[in-house]
Every structure is written in structure tokens, then in C-alpha cells.
Symmetry: C2
């Protein structure tokens, strides 16, 4: 039995989130179904993050134990053959036996995509939140600078456990342009529930001049402030990367690079 680490990409549009549910189509559900076709006998795979309904991933990380006689590259191919078109295994590595993609994560990176357009734009809105009037980029950047460092984000999300800590350290929070999109990139060891989407909504309000940066600062400096209600829609958010401390995962050549025959 070997523990494998797999990088997963998915279009979350048609899923009720990552985490398995009895009556709903979830990413975890379809991946476990594919694994069972490869004789996986586990009860639950492990994952780095439980993305919400409609949220996408290009770098979700999962782990599972499997008896597999062939190479990891062949496991990657076999897994992809059983996954639906909107979910794909992008890379595979052998992990240490106790590796846990959630608890071992050194940091996670999310990106949120905004399209500034007064009119609907069907080819761009599947993976972006359309916003108008355009938020001012300098104001967005000024707001993002206030987010970096250690703060109590109680006003922006709930902890995974009731009564848990709401302090988080943001190692990066940046806005940049990418073609017609404005992208917010945020990196932290961990996030509160709905925190990224609340922070995006709040910053967009600042960028549009409907709020002042002071209102953000107040909420970060005064723990105990009320929870911000509005959150940016799910379709703009992508879990792009999760990183681990050295030694937890085999850092060798990624399996997808020696697979030129794959198509």
C-alpha cells in the first residue's frame, strides 16, 4: 500500500462543492468513484481544501492509499480515464505514509478573477465575476496591502471549528491585470470559511469608492466586529496551489513530464 499525492484540476460549475454529500454531485464523490474502478477500497480520500459549490481548482491536492503495480504515471493516466471531462488529475507523486494534504499544508494560494464590463460577456463569465463600474486598481492595491501580515479576520469568515482561532497570517495579497481581467491573488497557511470571497467583495466596494480603506482597517484591528455579509460569487474563485514542507512528498520529476504519449 502506497500513499499517493495527486494534483487535481476541476471546473466547479456543475458541482455542489468538493466535499462528499449523500445526495449531491461533488468533486470528492466523482474522484472516489474513479478510484474504486482502480480497486481503491478506502472510505474517504484526503484533500487540502474543501472548495465551495461553484468554486474551481487548478491545484487542489488529494491523497489516498492504493495497491498499484504499475508506475505512478500509469496511475495518473488510468485515473484520468475514469474521471469526467470537468475533473482531471494533473500530476502524481509518492507521499510519505502519514502525509495529510490538509494538515501538512505550508500554504495555500487562491486567485479571484474579476471582469470589468457593463454588459454580459458569455465567453468570460464562467470563470469570473462581472463588475461595473470598474474598481480603481490603485485603490484595490492599497486595500490589499493592508491585508498582508497577521490579523484577526473574524469579520471576514468563520473558523473550521466553532470557537476556533480567527487569526490568520497573509503572506501575499496582490491585485494584477491579466488580459481583460483583474486578478486578486492571496496566499496564507490557512483561511477562514468564505474569507477570500468576503475580502474580494469588500475590496471591490473600496475600489468602486463605495467604502473607505479605513473601514477595512477598522475590521482588522477591532476583533469582535460584526461579520461582513456580502461575498463575491463562487465562479470567480480558483484554488491554484498548495505547498508542503520538504520531505512530505517525493520531490522528484513530476509524472506528467515523462508522458509525451498522452493526449
Amino acid at each position: 500500500m502506497v500513499r499517493y499525492q495527486v494534483i487535481l484540476a476541476y471546473d466547479g460549475t456543475e458541482y455542489q462543492g468538493f466535499q462528499k454529500q449523500a445526495m449531491a454531485r461533488t468533486v470528492q464523490g466523482v474522484v472516489e468513484e474513479a478510484l474504486r474502478k482502480l480497486s481503491w477500497g478506502g472510505t474517504s480520500l484526503l484533500a487540502a481544501g474543501r472548495t465551495d459549490a461553484g468554486v474551481h481548482a487548478s491545484g487542489q491536492v488529494i491523497a489516498f492509499d492504493l495497491e498499484w503495480r504499475h508506475s505512478p504515471a500509469e496511475l495518473l493516466r488510468a485515473l484520468n480515464a475514469h474521471l469526467p471531462p470537468d475533473v482531471a488529475a494533473r500530476d502524481i507523486r509518492i507521499a510519505s505514509p502519514g502525509f495529510h494534504p490538509r494538515f501538512d499544508a505550508a500554504w495555500r494560494c487562491y486567485r479571484y478573477h474579476i471582469l470589468c464590463d457593463p454588459l454580459r460577456s458569455p465567453l468570460k463569465e464562467r470563470y469570473a465575476w462581472r463588475v461595473w463600474p470598474s474598481p480603481d486598481l490603485a485603490r484595490l492595491r492599497a486595500a490589499a496591502r493592508r491585508l498582508t501580515g497577521r490579523h484577526d479576520f473574524m469579520a471576514f469568515g468563520s473558523p473550521p471549528q466553532l470557537g476556533g482561532k480567527t487569526t490568520r497570517t497573509i503572506s501575499r495579497a496582490e491585485w494584477f491585470e491579466e488580459g481583460p481581467l483583474l486578478v486578486f491573488e492571496i496566499v496564507s497557511q490557512a483561511f477562514l470559511y468564505h474569507m477570500v470571497r468576503r475580502l474580494v467583495f469588500f475590496q471591490v466596494e473600496i475600489g468602486q469608492g463605495r467604502r473607505q480603506i479605513d473601514q477595512l482597517v477598522e475590521r482588522l484591528e477591532a476583533p469582535g466586529s460584526e461579520m461582513v455579509q456580502d461575498l463575491a460569487p463562487a465562479q470567480g474563485l480558483v484554488l491554484v496551489e498548495v505547498r508542503y514542507a520538504k520531505g512530505r512528498v517525493d520531490e522528484g520529476r513530476p509524472a506528467n513530464l515523462d508522458n509525451s504519449k498522452l493526449k
Copy 2:
């Protein structure tokens, strides 16, 4: 009664092409349905191009006659309110009474998007053709240079009417990189049926070293050669722009710019 010109964008994934069909969901079908809710009494709207099933558009052009008491900007808004999320009216102008978006077109521009990746990539494949191994960009460009100018494209498509001309003049044919994608842009007054997708497939074969540029040149210089069978899949293709000679359409300020209230 005024003739309006409308720029249409759509995600073609869920449509059996542009042109109306009795038993299938088509773009023309849903747009005419929306127009009827605005008291349009015509039998068929006019369009610049009949895109195939699965082909997208960011700049399709349609025209229709309508009795409308308010501004064109309000018509744009009303039309969008009745269109489904994957179809949007992006701009509106008043056209001259005899304006025909197909016959009056000075040129059309299509883009084809290729993703070079050995593994499935769910967030990028809705609007691109995934290809592996990567075609060589220099070879793609060398092939595209041979396409510009006047040629008989009989081997690459059929004319709209049986026995019609197969000679077309390509004013631009270029490959460029856009993020992780390779994009082919082609401009001509008119195209043969399936011509862009056949040209893309053939060039990708050249780029991958599976064909020589001479084989392209032969087919352009020897009218009467057999039709090339393979075509690149529909989802990579977008009709991006159609241009008209001056005087056919009101060249004033586009209506979407004075609509800062729209969201």
C-alpha cells in the same frame, strides 16, 4: 420601423450552431424568441455568419427591423434581459434600411485557440483544442505565411452554393501566443464551409512535423486536389469581428459606453 445592427457574443457549447432549426436549440432561435418579447414580428433575423454547432462568437453581427420608441441603449438592455446567460447583445447601432450583415461584410475575423498540454485541463478546454506534442511555433508561422493572399481553397472547404467559387483572399493569417494558448487569427472577406477548422488542423500537423509545408502549398496551387478530411474541433473557434464599409452602419458612439448604470 428601423433596422438595427447588434453585436452578439455567445458561448456555443450548448447550441446546435447559429442557424435556426425546427427541433434544435440554436443561437438564432433564442435571439428571435427574445426579439418577439419586444414585439418583433419578423420571420428571420439576418446574420453575418452561420457558425457551426459548438463554435463561439464574441463579435457575431445580426440585423433586424423593429418599431422601438426608446433609445438603442434601452433596446440593448431589454434584449439582454430576455436572452439566456450564454448569449449577450454587446453593442447596438442604427443601420441603413438595406443593411445586410452577411452580404455587406467587408471582412470577417476568426480566432482559433490551441492549448498545448499532455493532460486534460478542465479550466482551459471549454474554449480551446488541447494538442500534444506542442506544435512548433516557427513552423506554424511559416505555414500561415503561405495562406495569405489569393488562393483556391477547394481542398479546405466547400462554397456556400453548390458549384460556387472556391477562391478566397486571405488578408491576414497569424499565429501568436496568449498566456498558455496558441492563437491562430485569420481575416478574409469570406470563408468556405469548415475552412478555418481544416486549415488549423493541417497547420497543427505541420507544426508537429507530421506534414511538410510543401503539402500545404501543393493543395493551394493545384485546384482539384482532394478535400482535406480532418478538421479541428469546434470549441476552439471564435468569430471575433465582422467589419462593414463606412456608411452602412451609424459610426457614432457605441451604445454600451453610455450605460454606466448597467450591471
